[in-house]
């Protein structure tokens, strides 16, 4: 039977435009599916269609008011089974409803898609129930219509009007009665993210000769922001060519499937951006839109502003050296017993009578030659550690030249000679401690500062083994991190140097001393010599890899210029 009253509350509920349906549309175009199908080559063989419905002349089943119609759409499978596509909302009190709820369906050109539509009158007692929870057999059936999707889509006005039919059984016979008409309208969907949600980011590209833009950098993605302000972007003029080179700045809307939508772009050089900044004006974005076979640049209302523009000259390592900064090289050699008895050929310290250099000699020559290139006076402090000089206790920092007053030697040759004579005069001992040598180098560096020099020190430690007291080394390094000092550790022999890599902070965390102080910069570089065998160039590159950066970090944080 019919109902007496209509569902007022249900009728007041918003449909379609609510944020709930916006954010969770039950039948939204699915770009994940799109992407999948596109990737399989189903380009253009399908399209997303949105169906909307209206009906006229419905049967009136209510006594005191009119029917409260609801439409349910089904897709008819090959086997005749009906699969529900979705339900509209309930329209109150109307025999000529126009439903707001729309359904999305993928139109595939190559198959026949049969759709079945059923209209029900919803009983009052169910009026506060959510549409999808309604049990249809408890409702009043008003009629059914069947149509084929391609028929709807190919109509010139894209609307198809169907007769609503219901089966009436009366006294043994079944009659099909028409009552009312249903109009189904199809619209092709434009799959786009709604304009109220934007996750914008910028990509800056330089334009090369053949007009193709090459991305140089990109900003971070601002979440859900229509007036984004990004963090500053740092560019090197070398990266873009020159201050007048054309740059393309594109604003994209971030899409987690990777297909970011272009919102708009501007084409400006760095010089133009500087002018934009000083004039405090904005530049309108434009969007190339297809018009026929060509593209037309549609100017948008969105604007790009340059909040900050700052140019600074970044001096290079060589600028500093040319300006009077001097590099000073120091060397420390591991004389611990783990190297093996120097008289035996398998020792890392074995001096081969035929003249073939051992691992230590190779390291001194190869590394030294590179570093001494930058050291003007060629006088190097040189130490040994981990051995007992004749008549003495174990020393963790003794002068390689055997003197008790000064530690310097002349040139790489000086180091080599001091090394070979030290081998004869000390007995290898242990343990392997770097602390004293690093502390000594730090002392020299700080005294040089006190004397007003503009010197930068590089301590080369050649060692065969793993440090015995890692924490003591870390403590010394942390103290030295504030000084103009870099430490290059070259590992010789076959030991496992994993612990040493900890000291080279770019492989892990910042070094921490036992008193809670943390290294303010990374001053260590570790290179296993066996990794750089063969080829002069690779040795040089590996050893000098971090030195310029460490040097420049020191100079730049203190704002020290090349020319005083």
């Amino acid at each position: 039977m019919g109902n007496c009253f209509s569902d007022e509350l249900g009728g007041r509920a918003a449909v379609g435009g609510t944020s709930a349906s916006h954010n969770n549309p039950t039948n939204a175009p699915n770009d994940a599916v799109d992407h999948f199908l596109h990737s399989r080559g189903y380009h253009g063989l399908f399209s997303q269609i949105e169906l909307s419905y209206s009906a006229s002349d419905l049967r009136d089943r209510d006594l005191l008011s009119k029917s409260d119609p609801l439409l349910v759409a089904y897709a008819k499978g090959r086997d005749g089974m009906l699969e529900e596509l979705g339900r509209t909302e309930v329209v109150l009190n109307s025999l000529n409803p126009t439903w707001i709820t729309k359904h999305n369906i993928t139109h595939q050109f190559e198959i026949v898609q049969t759709l079945v539509f059923r209209v029900y009158d919803v009983d009052t007692q169910f009026h506060n129930v959510e549409v999808k929870m309604l049990k249809l057999d408890e409702q009043q059936f008003l009629g059914e219509a069947t149509g084929v999707l391609s028929e709807i889509v190919t109509k010139s006005n894209r609307s198809l009007t169907l007769d609503l039919v219901y089966r009436e059984e009366s006294s043994g016979s079944v009659r099909l009665r028409n009552h009312g008409k249903l109009t189904v309208h199809a619209e092709e969907c434009i799959n786009s993210k709604t304009t109220t949600e934007m996750d914008p980011f910028l990509v800056i590209s330089k334009v090369v000769e053949n007009g193709i833009p090459i991305p140089v950098c990109k900003t971070e993605v601002m979440k859900n922001e229509l007036k984004p302000t990004w963090k500053p972007v740092y560019l090197n003029i070398q990266q873009v060519g020159s201050k007048d080179s054309p740059l393309v700045i594109e604003c994209f809307n971030f899409n987690s499937n990777g297909k970011h939508d272009l919102i708009g772009k501007v084409q400006k050089s760095l010089a133009d951006l500087e002018k934009l900044h000083s004039s405090e004006q904005g530049e309108s974005l434009f969007l190339p839109t297809p018009v026929g076979h060509n593209y037309h640049n549609k100017v948008l209302k969105s604007q790009l502003f340059v909040e900050k523009y700052y140019e600074s000259i970044q001096h290079t390592f060589l600028d500093y050296l040319a300006g009077g900064c001097a590099l000073n090289f120091m060397a420390a050699i591991d004389f611990t017993a783990s190297n093996g008895n120097p008289r035996l050929p398998d020792s890392l310290h074995y001096i081969d009578p035929s003249g073939r250099p051992n691992a230590y000699q190779r390291a001194i020559i190869e590394v030294g030659e590179v570093l001494q290139f930058y050291d003007a006076d060629k006088r190097f402090p040189a130490w040994g550690f981990g051995a007992r000089p004749i008549d003495g206790p174990v020393s963790h920092c003794f002068n390689l030249n055997g003197s008790s007053h000064h530690c310097e030697v002349e040139g790489i040759q000086g180091i080599m000679m001091a090394y070979t004579s030290a081998l004869l005069n000390v007995s290898l001992a242990g343990p392997t401690l770097f602390g004293p040598v690093i502390g000594n180098a730090a002392l020299i560096a700080s005294q040089s500062l006190a004397n007003g020099g503009r010197k930068y020190f590089v301590l080369l430690i050649i060692t065969d083994g793993v440090v015995t007291d890692l924490q003591e080394t870390k403590d010394a390094l942390v103290k030295a991190s504030d000084l103009p000092l870099s430490i290059l550790i070259v590992g010789v022999g076959g030991a496992d140097f994993k612990e040493m890599e900890i000291l080279d902070a770019d492989k892990g965390e910042r070094l921490e001393s036992s008193t809670g102080r943390v290294a303010s910069r990374d001053i260590v570089q570790f290179v296993p010599l066996r990794d750089v065998q063969g080829g002069q160039i690779s040795v040089v590159q590996a050893l000098l890899a971090e030195l310029p950066t460490q040097f420049l970090t020191y100079m730049r944080t203190r704002d020290i210029q090349p020319n005083p």
Binding site: S395, G439, N440, A450, T515, G516, R517, V518, T557, R558
Partner: protein
């Protein structure tokens, strides 16, 4: 020498790293409080959007009593329930005063922060430059500091100095 009461320190509070509050990264409103003795403290502005990697880049000029052995830094966070201490560090004065470097050397220092339970909680980066009152810095090499008792309050690593100038070694090796 007659008693001089304070140094002037230029402390630039630069940034913090990896600050957690209740095991979650700090969202915003972190600031730093510097205490030079039990009465005086100085505080930076809040970083409103840096989250757990705040940057302050704020220079504070503080007076440090000469007898002080530590200054303390606290990173605090302004929450709805008031100011909460995220982490603290104690900085020995010997880290930036004394030693061989010239007095006005700009020290870049970083310290491990520990929370109220003593757990590690991030790092703080600062720079410090000490300024002595004029007449005290007239000693030649910049190392002539009035060495008060217990000047170097912390432990010093004794380095056997074999080859460098022994002359300036006074006052460096500490008790014990």
């Amino acid at each position: 020498m007659t008693s001089i009461s304070t140094y002037t320190l230029e402390i630039a509070v630069i940034s913090g790293e990896n600050l957690l509050e209740n095991r979650k990264p700090v969202k915003k409103n972190a600031f730093v409080v510097i205490r030079t003795d039990s009465h005086s403290f100085f505080s930076t502005k809040m970083d409103t959007d840096g989250g757990s990697y705040p940057t302050w880049n704020e220079k504070l000029v503080v007076d440090l009593p000469m007898h002080a052995q530590f200054i303390s830094l606290e990173v605090q966070c302004k929450t709805a329930a008031g100011n909460k201490t995220v982490g603290a560090a104690r900085i020995p004065v010997s880290d930036f005063i004394g030693g061989y470097v010239p007095q006005s050397y700009l020290h870049f220092l970083s310290y491990r922060l520990r929370d109220s339970n003593g757990e590690r909680n991030g790092i703080i980066n600062i720079s410090v430059r000490a300024k002595l009152p004029d007449y005290a810095s007239c000693s030649s090499t910049g190392m002539g500091l009035p060495v008060a008792e217990k000047y170097f309050g912390g432990v010093v690593t004794g380095v056997p100095v074999w080859c460098t100038n022994p002359a300036q070694a006074s006052g460096i090796n500490d008790d014990g």
